[in-house]
Symmetry: C2
Subunit: 196 residues, 2 copies
C-alpha cells in the first residue's frame, strides 16, 4: 500500500461505502484531510472500535457490544417482533410504545438467491418462542415478495403451536399523497379500510 | 469514550462528513460492521495515513506526500494555473492536455469573511512567477463574485510585469440545456459568441 497516493487510497476506502461515487468520496476524503489530527484519529478509532466490539446478541441476533443486547436483557419476551436485519430493529425502536423483544432473521427466504428456511435464523426463533413461552410473534419483515413469503412461512410453523402471529398493517403512509401511492398499496389500503 | 455505544459513536463520526445526515451515517456505519475485519482496518488506516502523510507542496500549495508535488516536480512552469483549493487541481487535471503547473491560493479575497489579499497565497505566486520566469498565468478561480474579484486583483499585479494573464472561458456547459442556464451565464455566452 506504500506506493499508492494517500488521497487516492482514502477515496477508494470511501467508495466502498454504499451509494458513494467518485465525487462524493473525493469530498469526504478532502474533509478528512481538513480535520485536525485528533478528529481524524477519533474517526479511525470509531471504525476499528465498532468492528471489534460489535457482535451479535446471542438471543435475538441484533448488534450489541455485550453477550446479550440491552433489549433482550430487560424487556418483555411475551411479544417477539421478527425483522430481517439489525437496522430494522433501529427503525422499529422509533416506536416508543413497543415493549417486546426482537428476533433478527439476517435475511429472508429467497429461492432466486438460493436462500432457504435453513439459511436464516428460523430455527433459533422456534427455540426462543418455546423457551420464553412467547404469546405473540409480530412479523415485521419488509412488505415485498420475499418479506411476505418469509412471514407466511414462519406463521405456518408457529400457528400449530397456538401462538398468535400478526403482521404489520399495510396501507398508505402518513403524510404521503394518494397520487404517489402505488397500486398494490392502494389495494391493500382499500381492503383494510376502517369505519370512522 | 468507553460508555458510548460503538455504533452510535461510528454514526457520529460519519455525520461529521459534509452533507451526511443521520440516515446516511447509519447506512455507512452498518456497512462498516458488515465488512470483514481486514477491510475495516484498511479503511481506518487509510484515514490515519492520509492525515499523517498529506501535506502541502512547498511550491504550489497542493496536497502531496513529498516536499514537492509530482506536478511541480516534472511539468512546465511556463504556464501557471491559479485555483482556489486543492480539489480544484484534481478537477483541472481531468483536462489531459494541460501541461503547466498549478498555484493553490487556499481561499479567495472575501471582505465579508475578513479575508484580504495577504490571507491567501498571492505573495507566493508573485515570487514563483518571478523565479520561474512564467509566461502565462491562467486564473481558474470559481466564476462567482469572490473568484472574479480575486482574478482581477491578481491580474492587476501581474500585468505590469509583462505576464500574460488569462481567465477560463465562461459560457453554457456542454450537454446542458439552455432552458436551465442562468441569466448571467447566458449573457456571458452571448457576449463571447463565436462565428461557426
Amino acid at each position: 500500500m506504500e506506493n499508492i497516493d494517500p488521497i487516492e487510497r482514502l477515496v477508494a476506502a470511501f467508495r466502498s461505502l454504499p451509494g458513494v461515487g467518485l465525487k462524493t468520496a473525493e469530498r469526504y476524503a478532502y474533509s478528512i484531510i481538513k480535520k485536525d489530527e485528533e478528529n481524524a484519529k477519533e474517526f479511525a478509532d470509531a471504525i476499528i472500535n465498532a468492528k471489534l466490539k460489535v457482535k451479535y446478541c446471542k438471543e435475538c441476533g441484533n448488534y450489541t457490544d455485550s453477550e446479550i443486547c440491552s433489549i433482550c436483557a430487560k424487556r418483555n419476551p411475551d411479544i417477539i417482533c421478527v425483522v430481517k436485519e439489525p437496522k430494522d430493529v433501529a427503525a422499529m425502536e422509533k416506536v416508543k410504545s413497543f415493549n417486546g423483544v426482537y428476533h433478527v432473521l439476517h435475511g429472508t427466504i429467497n429461492p432466486l438467491e438460493n436462500r432457504g428456511p435453513n439459511d436464516i435464523r428460523i430455527k433459533e426463533l422456534l427455540e426462543r418462542v418455546n423457551r420464553l413461552k412467547t404469546k405473540e410473534v409480530i412479523m415485521a419483515t419488509n412488505p415485498d415478495v420475499e418479506g411476505e413469503a418469509t412471514a407466511l412461512y414462519i406463521a405456518r410453523l408457529l400457528k400449530p403451536l397456538g401462538i398468535k402471529v400478526t403482521r404489520l398493517a399495510q396501507g398508505i403512509s402518513m403524510g404521503s399523497e394518494l397520487e404517489y401511492a402505488d397500486e398494490i398499496t392502494l389495494t391493500k389500503a382499500l381492503e383494510k379500510r376502517s369505519e370512522i
